[in-house]
Assembly symmetry: C2
Homo-oligomer: 228 residues x 2
């Protein structure tokens, strides 16, 4: 199955993001298969989100867009212009601590390891929508706790300053109700509905590099499933 060979090369980071992978004709030669087979394999990888292709230009390794994740989950229809500004953050905690047990488990690190812990509130158009805790392995993110992240997205920082590229993630949604602190920071009543989103973000080889628990305002949350 040449599809799996291609997928491995993508997963291993052998082909760079935003640069074209070998053309169909070259892949035919490389793997010694017919054009139809290469076309089919590439199309399937597009469907699975690993590639995107542009007629006349080439095929490229796709990157997951995590900001879309938030926008997928939350109705963010305040204001009608389509521009999506970087959400601001209000940092409540930024520290290095010994990892709690559940964090160790999800990040697959030794008990007692150090992690960077960040707690923040994310504001969209100045409206607080999400309260979240993040945990990063200290080994990979030494110094992260000193960065100013109030106006920035995290994943570009991971990539540029710590050479950690997030390529996939698992998210789990739960229902919850706001505790006192969450209610206060999100400007809602205690016991208001919240959506809890737990994310384990991974780099190449499925290695977990971030564990995140986000609590979003339930009145702004919406998720759509088409059954068919």
């Amino acid at each position: 199955m040449i599809k799996d060979s291609i997928k491995e090369k993508i997963a291993s980071g052998m082909w760079e993001f935003r640069k074209p992978i070998p053309s169909e004709a070259e892949l035919c030669r490389i793997f010694d298969v017919s054009p139809g087979t290469v076309k089919r394999a590439l199309q399937e990888l597009v469907n699975e989100g690993y590639l995107y292709r542009r007629q006349g230009i080439g095929s490229f390794v796709a990157r997951p867009n995590f900001e879309n994740s938030l926008y997928r989950f939350f109705r963010y229809d305040v204001g009608k212009d389509k521009s999506r500004p970087v959400p601001r953050s209000k940092v409540l905690i930024s520290e290095v601590i010994e990892a709690p047990e559940d964090v160790c488990k999800h990040l697959m690190i030794e008990k007692g390891s150090l992690v960077v812990h960040i707690r923040r509130v994310r504001l969209f158009d100045e409206i607080p929508l999400v309260y979240e805790d993040l945990y990063l392995p200290h080994e990979l993110f030494e110094g992260m706790e000193k960065k100013d992240i109030s106006e920035k997205l995290l994943y570009p920082i991971y990539e540029q300053e710590f050479k950690v590229l997030v390529v996939s993630a698992d998210e789990y949604l739960n229902a919850a109700t706001a505790n006192e602190e969450q209610a206060q920071y999100l400007g809602i009543g205690e016991c208001s509905p919240l959506i809890e989103i737990t994310r384990i973000a991974r780099t190449f080889g499925e290695e977990p590099v971030e564990y995140r628990r986000s609590f979003g305002r339930g009145d702004r949350f919406r998720y759509h499933v088409r059954i068919r």
Copy 2:
């Protein structure tokens, strides 16, 4: 695009469920295209959930499995045997009423039309997990309010007794908190987290035939998204 022609025949109900559609070779003749094209079209329809195929037997029109929907959303890991019994229902209300405004909108019926309204609690292994309201156009479901549905699934009843076949649906998830009645029936505290699932179920031609608002216990809810 022969794929769209095939999709239309499926959506129109021209080919029956569980009976094979014409074979690849026949489709080649019918549409006057080459085998490869037919194979590709059929494979894409499988990916989109319209068909399933069995080597050596044929290609069949798929039906959405709605029970899977609930089981997808709720952790139902009480007991370890994999058998999934039909959930029991405790019917609280079963009546014919004038449709409230939002129901008219979602069912796309005239203001003032009659609908069958059913309110019930669904029990899984005797544990109440879901509290829900259903609205059905009275025109299509005359007499539905008199049926005993406590031990049965609804969609087979729609199909067998009312000749209404549900073929697709849209579901919207929201976070909510339990009101007094919901809390009582679900055996949880008031203000406990709930997941609200709004479903619009459709028959052929996208015609809405059921509007349903379900409230599931938040502590049993879980949804998983893989980002990539």
